[in-house]
């Protein structure tokens, strides 16, 4: 029984690491641009579909597939940023969000037109057998996911606190007017943050696809839902919150699934978010969301 708990916790951390990566991408855009990007998942899907095509057409190796996923997502993200976020910078947040939803539809249909089947095989991240230790099983792919997520966190923190770009981002978040007056180009910061978020998404999408060894047309919706859910669970707008929310979601899902099965698993996650929002503990509302 205790072993099951430990195993589920381990599995939960692996799932949660994927969710954390997704949540980080959403949070970067929300925290800096103060906007919700509903095209985030579909952009990731487009990147992964591009990689799938590369895998089928030219049998690209894993490194190349990672590069294609990231590049595809960044390109799709740049398109979304130009059309949905740049024009509404000083205007309505809702218009930007609805525009990003419109592009969600567009990007998803584009991907499905290019690769119409319900399922495509994706090369496996690792072909060998899982690790066994202390009576626990850990798939190597899951271990990679956890390590990469941790690495991304470290890298983000370094960038934010020890680079010129990070300084500009923090300034733009703390006080956009003061940042402009200090000579920081807000549009420039926004474009670069968006690109970083897209790159993270491409990385997450690649790892997820390679771990499950498949891509499906649901990837866009799934990534968006999980990313949003994780971001909200951890407290909106903070990067550490995104990671905590992602891990928490993964843990809640893993344990719920064990006790109650897959349908109730999702129900419990949504219930948890709803109750948290209804009770609104102060740590959730660190930033204004309207």
């Amino acid at each position: 029984m205790f072993l099951d708990l430990a195993q589920n916790t381990l599995d939960g951390l692996a799932r949660g690491s994927a969710y954390a990566l997704l949540a980080l991408g959403f949070t970067l855009v929300f925290g800096v641009l103060r906007r919700v990007n509903l095209s985030y998942g579909p952009a990731i899907m487009l990147g992964c579909y591009l990689a799938t095509w590369a895998s089928m057409a030219i049998h690209a190796n894993l490194i190349l597939l990672l590069a294609v996923s990231v590049a595809g997502t960044v390109l799709a993200g740049a398109y979304v940023e130009r059309l949905c976020f740049a024009p509404h910078r000083k205007g309505s947040a809702i218009a930007a969000m609805v525009a990003s939803f419109a592009l969600w539809m567009q990007l998803e249909e584009l991907a499905v037109l290019a690769l119409p089947r319900h399922l495509y095989a994706f090369p496996a991240l690792y072909e060998g057998s899982p690790l066994q230790f202390l009576g626990l099983t850990l798939r190597v792919e899951s271990g990679v996911m956890i390590v990469v997520a941790a690495g991304v966190c470290v890298a983000l923190r370094r960038t934010l606190y020890h680079s010129k770009f990070g300084l500009a981002v923090r300034a733009a978040v703390e006080n956009p007017v003061a940042a402009s007056l200090a000579g920081i180009s807000l549009p420039g910061v926004f474009v670069r943050v968006f690109a970083v978020a897209s790159a993270l998404g491409g990385l997450a999408g690649f790892l997820i696809s390679a771990t499950h060894e498949q891509v499906t047309p649901m990837l866009g919706m799934w990534s968006t839902l999980k990313g949003l859910l994780a971001m909200m669970l951890g407290g909106l707008g903070s990067l550490p919150g995104a990671v905590i929310g992602g891990l928490a979601l993964g843990l809640v899902e893993a344990h719920s699934q064990w006790f109650f099965g897959p349908q109730l698993r999702d129900l419990i996650a949504y219930l948890l978010l709803f109750l948290l929002l209804a009770m609104r503990p102060r740590w959730m509302t660190t930033q204004s969301a309207s």
Binding site: L167, R170, A171, N175, L181, A182, G183, S185
Partner: protein
């Protein structure tokens, strides 16, 4: 002396309400020029328009002969103008040194020398150099915002009510620094409510009321109590 900054018939509106209704003035190179006027006259609106945060509806702004009215705020900093805004907009979650670094964002050279020099000029900031800007006192924050603006090595420093809400000793310190900067050759365009201190340092001043310039002259040309009256209350006839 030539005009470093020239503003002509500037109109800035918030929606339908015109806060600046045709403002024309000049800041001569190397001078301290002062803008006085009651609250709501348009002083901050003018500063924000020159700095590029607000966009003018009509009129011209030129700096060293080049038009800057349509530039983005960061490009205006790159041209050599820096604004010390009203309300001491520090970056509260960043340290004093990080705030200074932010001010130098447009520069690509080594900042260590400048940072040291500025901390030397503002000893209270030097003591608190690793502290978060949000924990500084009002006077220290004001020094920080001035120092941050100076990090971009501006030719023209715009200052919006630097003495607002500060204790008299601190106000004296601020004006001492303004005089020092003037001696170092920085041109200063100063918006102030504290007409008395402002007139002591300025070479030229303007009065602005209800979005228009109503007086232009040097500090001796109008009786000080008349100036102070109009700076706080505006002229009788409106």
């Amino acid at each position: 002396m030539s005009a470093l900054l020239e503003v002509k018939d500037l109109v800035t509106a918030y929606g339908k309400i015109e806060a600046l209704r045709g403002v024309s003035l000049e800041v001569a190179e190397g001078s301290i020029t002062c803008l006085l006027g009651p609250n709501g006259a348009g002083k901050t609106t003018l500063m924000m328009t020159v700095a590029g945060i607000l966009r003018a509806k009509k009129g011209l702004i030129s700096f060293s002969g080049k038009s800057i009215a349509s530039l983005q705020p960061h490009a205006i900093v790159a041209s050599g103008i820096a604004l010390v805004p009203e309300n001491r907009l520090v970056f509260p979650g960043m340290t004093v040194i990080e705030n200074l670094r932010a001010g130098a964002y447009q520069r690509r050279d080594d900042l260590a020398g400048d940072i040291e020099r500025l901390l030397g000029r503002f000893p209270r900031l030097k003591e608190r150099s690793e502290q978060l800007a949000g924990t500084l006192s009002g006077g220290e924050q004001q020094m920080l915002v001035v120092a941050r603006a100076l990090m971009s090595r501006p030719r023209l420093l715009l200052m919006d009510e630097p003495s607002l809400g500060l204790a008299p000793l601190v106000v004296e310190e601020i004006f001492r620094i303004i005089a020092e900067l003037h001696r170092d050759g920085v041109s200063i365009f100063l918006v102030e409510q504290n007409a008395h201190m402002a007139l002591k340092v300025a070479q030229h001043f303007y009065l602005i009321e209800q979005g228009r310039v109503t007086f232009s002259g040097d500090p001796g040309s109008l009786a000080e109590d008349e100036v102070i009256r109009r700076a706080y209350l505006g002229s009788a006839k409106q």
